[in-house]
């Protein structure tokens, strides 16, 4: 990325005696995974562009424990959750935004009964708020007329009933939004959920991400948009397996927007 990203940690805000508007929960994928880091940067570009005073935890952030919980390890989940809650509460965090629907679901729904109560939003919801508030202006020519199909991440869509925000954000680019047959509440999983991301699939006829990619390709898209780093990996792998990487790109909603500023 050409321009320098402006990123401050919570510790730095603390030292200045200030509170940020929002804490950006980067998440493990967004911190370490090469593809997901690009999503993180695209989102920060949007935040910088809108002049949002945000903070990250940096080295004080640890895994949410979400994936351990889905794998059945409630101990590890609660250990992680309580460590994170201690940090978040010490900084008196009120509002959290994240690009990962799994972190979003976990912090929003599963942290409160362990003592971590925050206003948690997914980055597509946050971007929509920035656009609605006039803080972020989008030039609608990069993707004008391009066919974009949005793949609903399970933990944003079905699990938390957010179907509108990502689509609303994408419409700002004047792209041609096309829906897969299985969409919103009935969208097919990308195959990464429930800790599948970290293991080989069980024996079967095909991989879930291939099936979902086939469904996406039925819409003859130019771009498959997602709102989840794991969905992104799965769909990208699917496109490679189908040898369509020359004609179809998999992008996060934040990247689509960052390219449209």
């Amino acid at each position: 990325m050409s321009e320098q990203l402006q990123v401050k940690t919570m510790a730095e805000y603390m030292a200045e005696g200030k509170q940020p508007e929002v804490l950006f929960w980067v998440g493990s994928a967004g911190s370490y995974d090469d593809r997901a880091k690009k999503i993180t940067k695209a989102f920060v570009k949007l935040l910088n562009n809108a002049g949002v005073e945000f903070a990250v935890l940096g080295a004080e952030e640890s895994n949410t424990g979400d994936v351990a919980k889905r794998a059945g390890n409630e101990f590890l989940f609660q250990m992680q959750a309580m460590m994170n809650i201690e940090v978040l509460n010490a900084y008196e965090i009120k509002r959290i935004v994240t690009c990962d629907p799994h972190s979003f679901n976990c912090i929003k729904n599963e942290y409160p009964s362990l003592g971590g109560v925050y206003d948690v939003v997914h980055h597509t919801q946050y971007i929509k708020q920035l656009i609605d508030a006039g803080r972020l202006s989008v030039k609608g020519d990069t993707y004008k007329g391009k066919r974009i199909t949005f793949h609903d991440p399970c933990y944003l869509g079905r699990a938390n009933s957010e179907f509108h925000a990502p689509r609303s954000v994408l419409r700002n680019t004047n792209a041609n939004l096309v829906e897969m047959k299985k969409n919103k509440r009935f969208a097919l999983c990308c195959g990464a959920g429930g800790a599948q991301m970290f293991k080989e699939p069980e024996k079967g006829d095909k991989d879930v991400n291939i099936l979902r990619t086939e469904q996406a390709l039925e819409t003859t898209p130019d771009i498959i948009a997602t709102g989840c780093p794991y969905c992104n990996t799965m769909m990208t792998d699917g496109i490679k397996a189908k040898e369509k990487e020359d004609t179809v790109t998999v992008l996060d909603v934040a990247e689509v927007l960052a390219n449209s500023l």
């Binding site: 794998a71 059945g72 609660q78 362990l114 999983c189 800790a195 069980e202 099936l211």
Partner: protein, 434 residues
């Protein structure tokens, strides 16, 4: 001697309802084998859900063809049962069509006329259902074999027989036909029968008796069938999950231990407090039906094996062994087995060396789940197969350390460096300058 039919009727009725009540008691006892669960919250929302999902069939129509046909059979079933009320009163008091004595002829005619039309619609729907189950290539039905397949068909045959008996009963009732109100359909069936009044009376009486006996047999068949949903869909939708689908429960017993572990003032060598009011569960997660909660066991009895869950499941669609429907069927089969064991051993469960995990549900099925909630979304009666899968994963991981190797590596990484991959936590912010 004149009272003989009344007495026989009363005996049949008492036997029919009595046996059913006995089985329902057994069913409730079996459900209570599960762990207690608090669902006393949000009563108004729960009633609304029951009204919308069970009474209003809101999720059935997601699949329009099956949904529409189901509504016909459902409405037919409920409305035609008003007729059963008349039959019971007639049978007990020796009256004939008591409805005509209390209602104006026009109203009575309208009611019976609607029942007759519904009966025909139900017959048509049932024929289509039979074709869908047996002839048309629908995977979720085709994959049923043995008893579950027969069970589905037997219910359809029952309905055909009951509807036909109802129409024949009306068609051969000379006074009802002569009245000319309400015989909307039966007037066309009436000419098929002889003109001999004695024969007609005999047929009418036979149809009447068979109809009520058939209904009682059907009622008692429910307990042994997938068809229990016609009753249990109501409590099941009432107890359905109200929180976001992605929210899994936090195990309280784990919370207590983790808090203790993280408390710097806690004495690691302290003996457990005597008056520990929170009763420790025997184990974490579930390996058998007794470890599941009561709502999950109610779910299992409610499942009517329609297979919408399995047809939406990403693992199943890609040829994996996991089938949410099978999870529910296995849970019920095991629960029934445990119930029979208790009956055979004078009210106490004798260890039979079997359990739900392993003997019914394999690890391979459990690890194929993506926790995507498609099955939960698909269920027309608010069953949550995912919660059972999760409880069993918890048992596998926390009691048996039996997670797949790659997942163990992932979890070790989280424990050591706060990420599912072996990266240093200090490097979390490296992306800024890359």
């Amino acid at each position: 001697m004149n009272y003989l039919p009344n007495i026989i009727f009363a005996l049949i009725l008492i036997a029919g309802i009595g046996y059913f009540a006995r089985n329902i008691k057994k069913l409730i006892r079996n459900i209570k084998l599960g762990r207690e669960v608090d669902a006393s919250d949000n009563k108004s929302q729960r009633w609304k859900n029951m009204a919308r999902i069970a009474l209003g069939q809101s999720k059935m129509v997601v699949r329009p063809i099956a949904g529409f046909l189901h509504i016909i059979v459902y409405v037919g079933f409920i409305i035609i049962n008003i007729e059963v009320l008349e039959i019971i009163i007639d049978g007990l008091f020796g009256t004939h069509r008591i409805g005509l004595k209390v209602l104006p002829e026009s109203v009575y005619g309208f009611l019976i006329g609607s029942f007759e039309i519904l009966a025909v619609l139900v017959l048509i729907a049932v024929v289509v259902f039979w074709l869908r189950r047996n002839i048309i290539n629908i995977k979720r039905f085709k994959s049923l074999k043995g008893w579950p397949k027969n069970d589905g068909n037997i219910i359809l045959y029952f309905e055909v027989v009951l509807m036909c008996l109802f129409l024949v009963m009306n068609a051969t009732d000379t006074s009802f036909q002569n009245m000319g109100a309400g015989n909307v359909i039966s007037q066309f069936i009436s000419p098929w029968f002889s003109d001999n009044p004695d024969t007609l009376h005999l047929i009418e009486r036979s149809a009447w008796w068979l109809h009520i006996v058939g209904i009682l047999v059907f009622l008692n068949y429910l307990y042994f069938s997938k068809h229990l949903h016609i009753l249990l869909a109501f409590p099941n939708t009432y107890y359905g999950k109200l929180t976001p689908k992605g929210q899994f429960n936090n195990l309280e017993a784990v919370t207590n231990e983790v808090k203790l572990m993280m408390d710097p003032n806690a004495d690691p060598f302290a003996a457990p407090a005597e008056d520990d009011n929170a009763e420790e569960p025997a184990k974490f997660g579930a390996s058998d039906v007794m470890d599941l909660n009561r709502i999950q066991l109610l779910n299992a009895y409610t499942c009517t094996e329609c297979g919408r869950c399995t047809s939406e499941c990403p693992a199943n669609q890609t040829g994996k062994k996991l089938s949410p429907r099978k999870i529910m069927m296995d849970t019920r089969d095991r629960l029934v087995e445990v119930g029979k064991n208790i009956d055979a051993n004078g009210g106490e469960f004798k260890d039979d060396g079997k359990q739900l995990l392993g003997d019914y549900i394999t690890n391979e099925e459990l690890w194929a789940c993506t926790t995507c909630n498609a099955c939960v979304e698909a269920c027309p009666v608010s069953i949550d197969p995912l919660s059972i899968i999760m409880e069993m994963r918890r048992y596998l991981v926390m009691e048996e350390s039996a997670a797949p190797m790659e997942l163990n590596n992932m979890m070790t990484n989280i424990e050591n460096n706060g990420a599912p991959w072996p990266y240093n936590q200090q490097d979390r912010l490296n992306w800024v300058n890359e």
